[in-house]
């Protein structure tokens, strides 16, 4: 018996010695149930799935729209108080500095989008399959979209070809001049135009028309009027798009992805969201921010009363312009007419951005202020027409054609031909620019229009020419770059 136990004892000792010798193999294990990011793109579905990730960041561009509008003379920051989202308040006052977490969001999120598009392009040659060009073209389109946002906001930005940025690239790769950034955007969009299908495989994905329209916009921003007019005409001549007769129908839920939508950022109310990760929301965060504070009444849900239109824009509409009541909600009149109540926030003007207010009827999954499903109509056919008009006019190419496009937009706005414009030359240019202001109020376009047309300093209080055309690079980025990047002038 004793001997038996002793044998067991020695056995355990031996077993122990054996297990020690198995050594470091024990820690060589693969992560469980996970996919290695560097051994991906082995099938069509891998590309398809990665593309969804690249689209995802479009949703975070809500802040570009919201903050872009606040930056313009169309709206004030609003909110609860002077310290409510200080970053918005500062941009509104044009006192923003390189310490501004909302401007930082624009930088971070748009580069995240660039990163995800580049991830696909980095592995573009790994696996072949039919229809791959369509997916690669979408990746090119998305990268161009994000780059265009970045160049509008920050000017020169670093570029890294078809590769993701690695850690420490910020210390090595310089900020490419604006011209080079635009060249890269044009190249991406030309590829996209050549390879995208005219009809999206699924609603929400980029089309040939979207790429052409964006390319036209990119040309226009560089005053390349001939190129712009050509490519925009292709969108117009494609016959795929038209103005929705009833302007008010465009911004309702039922009007999403309509005939007028050349490109639309898709949002959904199907998933919850939290303030800790606004870029993770599938909803349009800007809509809740635009919402009427403490609103109780019909049609709308309440929100945080940011981005409130100024009396200046509200009073600027011509009599008979049907767009005014669609664009701007006069809350006093509305409350009286609908027995509604509301609260007044900071810098309350009595007006709200009606195109992008929270509507009742969505699923209100928490936090319901962050999960509004209103799609952002990124490029409307009206924009294509007015851009084309501007290209024909300013390029001295064809004022008659420019007037035709302009008046097409005006006839819808007024419902008649009495308001047609007959001017030409620089006078026509002014009419086109004025039209853009009324057509796109609340859509985040105005500030960049003012900047590219050199009118920002005269229209925006506090705007400093030579400084505020672009925004400061976040201070952290300048620090991370460790001398490689210089701050934008005067910031």
């Amino acid at each position: 018996m004793k001997k038996y136990i002793l044998n067991i004892g020695l056995g355990i000792v031996l077993l122990g010695a054996l297990s020690v010798s198995c050594s470091d193999n024990f820690v060589e294990r693969e992560p469980v149930y996970s996919i290695d990011s560097e051994n991906y793109f082995n099938s069509e579905s891998d590309y398809y799935n990665a593309l969804i990730g690249a689209y995802d960041l479009l949703q975070s561009s809500y802040v570009n729209v919201l903050l872009g509008e606040i930056a313009s003379d169309n709206t004030l920051a609003g909110g609860e108080s002077a310290s409510d989202v200080v970053g918005f308040q500062q941009v509104d006052e044009m006192t923003h500095t390189s310490v501004n977490s909302n401007i930082k969001d624009v930088w971070n999120w748009m580069f995240a989008g660039v990163n995800r598009a580049s991830y696909i392009l980095e592995f573009k040659d790994k696996t072949d399959f039919a229809g791959k060009n369509q997916i690669l073209a979408e990746a090119h389109f998305l990268r161009a979209y994000y780059h265009f946002e970045l160049v509008k906001w920050f000017g020169a930005i670093p570029l890294n070809g078809d590769k993701r940025f690695k850690l420490d690239d910020e210390k090595k790769i310089p900020r490419s001049p604006v011209k080079e950034v635009y060249a890269s955007i044009e190249a991406d969009l030309l590829y996209a135009v050549d390879n995208l299908s005219p009809d999206a495989p699924q609603t929400g994905r980029a089309t040939k028309g979207a790429a052409q329209a964006l390319l036209g916009k990119v040309y226009l921003y560089q005053d390349k009027f001939i190129d712009a007019s050509k490519v925009l005409d292709k969108v117009i001549e494609s016959g795929k798009y038209s103005l929705i007769a009833d302007y008010s129908a465009i911004f309702e839920n039922a009007g999403e992805n309509g005939k007028e939508s050349v490109f639309e950022v898709q949002y959904s109310d199907a998933e919850g969201a939290a303030f800790t990760c606004l870029q993770c929301s599938e909803g349009n965060v800007a809509v809740g921010f635009n919402g009427i504070r403490n609103y109780v009444g019909p049609v709308f849900d309440s929100g945080y009363s940011f981005n409130v239109p100024t009396p200046k824009i509200a009073n600027a509409f011509e009599v008979g312009d049907k767009r005014k009541d669609v664009s701007i909600l006069d809350i006093v009149a509305w409350a009286a007419a609908n027995n509604a109540t509301y609260g007044t926030g900071y810098k309350h003007t009595g007006y709200f951005n009606k195109k992008y207010l929270p509507r009742q009827g969505d699923s209100n999954i928490g936090d319901q202020n962050l999960t509004n499903p209103n799609n952002y109509r990124a490029i409307r056919y009206a924009d294509v027409l007015l851009m084309a008009a501007e290209a024909y006019n300013r390029g001295g190419l064809d004022d008659a054609k420019a007037r035709t496009y302009l008046n097409e937009v005006r006839r819808r706005a007024f419902g008649d031909t009495n308001h047609d414009i007959s001017a030409s030359g620089p006078a026509l240019t002014d009419f086109i620019w004025a039209e853009r202001r009324f057509e796109f109020v609340g859509e985040g376009i105005r500030f960049f229009d003012l900047v590219r047309t050199g009118k920002a300093a005269q229209e925006i209080v506090g705007f400093k020419a030579g400084k505020n055309e672009i925004f400061p690079v976040p201070i952290e980025e300048i620090q991370f770059a460790n001398g490689n990047w210089q701050q934008n002038p005067q910031y």
Partner: protein, 1023 residues
């Protein structure tokens, strides 16, 4: 060799049979003459041993005259007695810190006299004295250098143990081992514990990569050989109440303040008539209610000459002082400890613990928590409206969208968490020869938890807590791990005076598990009763995922070599070398090496001090070592497609793939370089016992999770995150001093008084990410500038905001000061004046600076016990000095309630230079500044207890060995200037390991659930 062993065993038996001997019976008494049960009685020259009975008596049969008997008992000085007759009486001196006490050091143990590291032992006596509900509380104020903080005062909330300061913004909790395996203190019944050893310096190097934050070693109780069955039963019942109520405005004060505020903002008075408002509702009184706590445990132990056993069970149920059963905690434990001598030199020891936890919790410690709402809801609102429903807090900008009726919030909170955990170990100890010992042991944890959260469909009238669709979320988690140790120990004395012990260890650790969660919508009848996915059949709109899961698998292989040497017990040396390989790091840096050395000189053993009448013992110690840390998220070295990629195609959500956290293949071990020099001495017949240490802990290659990096790398995408990098260095240095004095004035009266103090000087030496800092935390609402930093030259987690310089008394002062307009709002007299820190003539976000930190500079503990005849008394207190806290429980809106310090606000020139004016207009006064940072130093009387032990003569008659009755108060009183609920509130943002809390962002008080005051009465019964 085997046959020789066998021979030895046989010889033992023969000698037993043939010796000329007689039976000895004896009694063992303690210092005060009471019988002492459970004392180990061993014949020195043989393996014969027994344990004293409940009445302190023992019997040894067949012992030769002149035999030496060794009596030992933890907390008492070991004694040797020579057998001279058949009856002996031994009085043991209750030297609570006996130098011969064996200290468990991990893989090995050493007599206290010979320990060369900074090590403190908390004995079962302290635990029995304190009767803590949670084990961690036994370390609160009792061990120099150890700080214990609760993550919340709610029942069952987790507690943090920090040893010698905070060195990382990642997981900074000490690693816990239970009988050799990695474990968790929160699941233990405190009375199951025999001792807790805290390794504070390079001594922890035996644990290599686990040792950086210090080590807590728990040894559980076992049965004693040759002892009769002993039953120990403890029962206590208590009632809890809040330890603090904040002073907020009553209804009249509130209405008057609002009128002034509205008038200053140029608005109509909201309360034109304040008469008749009275005091209104005291919301804190409404939510705080006395709550019961009941704690029972029983242990049955004993043993024969080959087998020992201990069986114990415990039941703790504690309700919350807020919400009663809605913040309820229940802990049941059952434990079985068995020891068996398989042969004279072979032992098997096993210990199995089963724990069941059940915890329900309320929204606590955050913005919108129950307490936050209780503080901010105006006293003018009644609890219920005319219809008997809970009053809705009005939906208007002045009340915000997060403030709701706290009682309604409690009522509508439904959740349940249950954990069932089995853990324990089996060890096999084989004394192969007298010198050579082999131990093999395996410890394990396996836990299953289920949780359920019901979100009731509810409307608070336009608040963020409104839920338009009911849902139930259910989660199940399975966690497992094992630790397999093989330990070979060789001990020998060479040339008479050189004692050598060499230990070789191989240890393997694996942890793995998985979690599965799902949500069902549209709960039938909107009722908790039907809140189960099987009934809640609604789903998210198309494309929404209502399910989630995760899995993990991490491993470690380690080898330890240890060499202990001493010469005549005078010169002591201990060298440790450990090699670790961990899956937390990539192939290139998977292996780390951790050397350390500790040395001691027992000066009192030298001839010039030996037998000195005043100085009984003097030892100098010094230690240095490099320890590691791998407590970061799994797989941080490699890129995985676990990011979020969700978009909308055809109007429905669609999920794709994206990269998660940015990988860092170069990740490597964090290095903790620990230096310690210390002295232990005893004076005046061992009555006075002093330990002093000076330490410098430098943490290099600090693993900073989510360290900010350039956004061009895509780290701000949904589901992505910044990498973990070895990018920092933090140093903690300080003094530790512990003094204990005990004396016996007479047979009737003795006392013990202990005091310890620790100073901690914490400084971040480096954050290597170009900006020189990382930031975290949150202050107020909509304020994007983060309030806490880990920044070079400052303490970790220091607060970063504006410095105030009084209040502007008039327009002239405003004109004379740099413009504050860039902060957002215009300035008026009565507003806060901020300092122009960078001196550029304008106040903007660049003028923020260090305005305090949540780390205490000094922590102290004071412990007193008195025994007079049958009465005993104890008082334990601890203090924390120099820690700051941010007051962030005020919603700073126009119509919410306020703390009553606003009564001293600025109302005109010369009225106040500290509290700004009130107004509904825009001000910069709510920006994060030192106005919101308060000194949260405190002294807390943690435990006061008075006990009465029944006379022995009487208890003997009724057949019990001991009956003690006691009354006590826990958390009796806290001396502090801090205005919030609890100055010990240290909660931080959760780290990306999803368990620990970050030290950056901690000390921000959103309405911390205070630690309750508990009035207890109880009894200890042994028979």
């Amino acid at each position: 060799m085997k046959s020789r062993l066998l021979l030895t065993v046989l010889m033992l038996f023969t000698s037993y049979a043939f010796s000329q001997s007689f039976d000895v019976s004896g009694t063992v008494l303690d210092g005060s003459g009471l019988s002492l049960p459970g004392v180990n009685v061993k014949v020195k020259s043989s393996s014969q041993s027994t344990t004293t009975d409940f009445d302190g008596s023992f019997k040894l049969s067949g012992v030769p005259k002149g035999t030496v008997i060794v009596l030992s008992y933890i907390g008492y000085k070991t004694q040797e007695v020579v057998v001279s007759g058949t009856k002996i009486t031994v009085k043991m001196s209750d030297d609570a810190r006996s130098l011969d006490e064996v200290v468990v050091l991990g893989y090995s143990s050493r007599k206290k006299r010979d320990v060369t590291g900074a090590v403190t032992v908390v004995s079962s006596k302290t635990i029995e004295d304190l009767h803590p509900l949670k084990v961690e509380q036994a370390l609160q104020g009792t061990v120099a250098g150890v700080s214990v903080t609760a993550q919340s005062g709610s029942p069952g909330a987790a507690m943090n143990i920090n040893i010698r300061g905070i060195a990382t913004n990642g997981n900074n909790a000490a690693t816990v081992f239970i009988d050799g395996y990695q474990g968790d203190l929160s699941i233990l019944n405190p009375t199951d514990i025999e001792s807790i050893t805290v390794l504070k310096d390079a001594q922890a190097a035996v644990y290599g990569v686990l040792g950086a934050n210090g080590i807590v070693l728990v040894t559980t109780k076992t049965g004693k050989k040759n002892s009769k069955t002993k039953v120990s039963f403890n029962s206590s019942i208590g009632t809890q109440e809040t330890s603090k109520k904040m002073s907020v405005l009553n209804a009249t004060e509130y209405a008057l303040l609002l009128n002034e505020s509205y008038a200053n903002g140029g608005q109509a008075l909201p309360y034109p008539n304040v008469s008749g408002l009275g005091k209104g509702t005291d919301w804190q009184k409404e939510i705080f209610n006395p709550a019961p706590v009941i704690n029972n445990d029983i242990a049955i132990s004993g043993g024969s000459d080959k087998i020992t056993y201990l069986l114990s069970g415990s039941d703790l149920s504690q309700q919350g002082i807020i919400g009663g059963p809605k913040s309820d905690f229940k802990r049941n434990t059952a434990r079985l400890s068995l020891g068996a001598d398989l042969a004279s030199n072979m032992k098997l020891q096993t210990n199995i613990i089963y724990t069941y936890l059940d915890r329900d919790s309320l929204n606590e410690n955050g913005l919108g928590s129950v307490l936050f709402n209780a503080i901010n809801t105006p006293s003018t609102l009644p609890v219920r409206d005319q219809n008997g429903n809970y009053t809705l807090v009005p939906s208007s900008p002045g009340y915000g969208v997060e403030i709701i009726n706290p009682l309604a919030q409690i009522e509508n909170t439904y959740n349940d968490y249950k954990l069932r955990k089995l853990n324990g170990n089996v060890s096999f100890i084989y004394d192969i020869t007298k010198e050579f010992k082999f131990t093999s042991r395996i410890g394990f944890n396996t836990g299953n938890s289920i949780s359920r959260n019901f979100s009731k469909q509810i409307s608070y009238g336009g608040k963020v807590f409104d839920i338009t669709r009911s849902s139930v979320n259910q989660n199940t988690v399975n966690d497992n791990d094992y630790t397999l140790d093989l330990i070979a120990e060789y001990k020998k004395t060479l040339f008479g005076n050189h004692n050598i012990k060499a230990v070789l260890v191989s240890t393997v650790y694996k942890t793995w598990g998985s979690g599965l969660g799902a949500t069902g919508y549209d709960v039938p009848n909107n009722s908790w009763k039907y809140a189960d996915i099987s009934l809640a059949k609604g789903t998210s709109p198309a494309g929404g995922r209502d399910v989630s899961s995760y899995s993990y698998d991490d491993r470690r292989v380690s080898y330890v070599g240890m060499l202990e040497y001493d010469f005549k017990g005078k010169y002591l040396l201990n060298a440790i070398f450990r090699r670790d390989a961990s899956t937390k790091f990539g192939p290139e840096n998977r292996v780390g090496y951790f050397p350390s050395i500790t040395a001691g000189w027992v000066v009192s053993e030298e001839s010039f001090l030996k037998d000195n009448s005043i100085l009984n013992f003097l030892k100098f110690r010094v230690s240095y070592g490099v320890l590691g840390n791998d407590q970061i998220r799994s797989n941080a070295y490699t890129g995985l497609l676990n990011g979020e990629a969700t978009y909308v195609y055809n109007g429905a959500l669609i999920n794709g793939t994206a990269i998660g956290g940015l990988p860092n293949p170069k990740l490597q071990w964090e290095e903790a370089k620990k230096f310690d020099v210390g002295v232990d001495f005893r004076l005046l017949n061992n009555k006075l016992d002093i330990t002093a240490d000076y330490f410098i802990d430098t943490r290099d290659k600090l693993l900073i999770p989510k360290i900010p990096v350039s956004g061009i790398t895509g780290v701000y995408a949904p589901g992505a995150s910044s990498p973990t990098m070895n990018a920092g260095s933090v140093r903690n240095k300080g003094f530790e001093f512990a003094i204990n004095y005990k004396d016996k004035i007479s047979d009737n009266f003795n006392f013990n008084i202990g005091y310890n103090i620790t100073t901690i000087d914490n400084e971040v030496l480096e954050v290597a990410n170009s900006t020189g800092y990382t930031e975290a935390g949150g202050f107020g609402v909509g304020q994007p500038l983060l309030p806490s930093r880990m920044e070079k030259g400052k303490p970790i987690g220091s607060f970063y905001g504006y410095k105030t310089d009084g209040i502007f008394q008039n327009q002239a002062e405003i004109a004379a000061h740099p413009s504050q307009a860039a902060l957002g709002a215009a300035t008026a007299p009565g507003d806060i004046r901020f300092k122009d820190i960078n001196g550029d003539g304008v106040i903007d976000s660049k003028d923020r600076t260090n305005i305090g930190d949540p780390i205490a500079n000094v922590i102290m503990g004071l412990n007193l016990t008195l025994n007079y005849k049958n009465l005993d008394f104890l008082a334990y207190a601890y203090a924390s000095i120099g820690n700051d806290m941010v007051r962030n429980y005020e919603r700073t809106l126009t119509d919410v309630n306020r703390s009553n310090y606003v009564l001293g606000r600025w109302t005109g020139e010369g009225t106040s230079n500290t509290v700004p004016r009130v107004t509904t207009g825009a001000t910069n006064n709510n920006l994060f500044s030192d106005y919101y940072v308060e000194d949260a130093s405190f002294l807390r009387i943690q435990n006061v207890q008075l006990g009465y032990t029944l006379n022995k003569t009487f208890s003997d008659k009724i057949g019990i060995s001991k009956l003690r009755l006691y009354v006590g108060v826990n958390n009796l009183y806290t001396f502090t200037k801090y205005r919030g609920f609890d100055p010990a509130a240290i909660t931080g943002p959760q780290n990306d390991d999803n368990v620990s809390q970050s030290s950056v962002g901690s000390g921000i008080d959103n309405g911390f659930y205070p630690t309750p005051r508990i009035y207890t009465m109880g009894l200890n019964l042994n028979f």
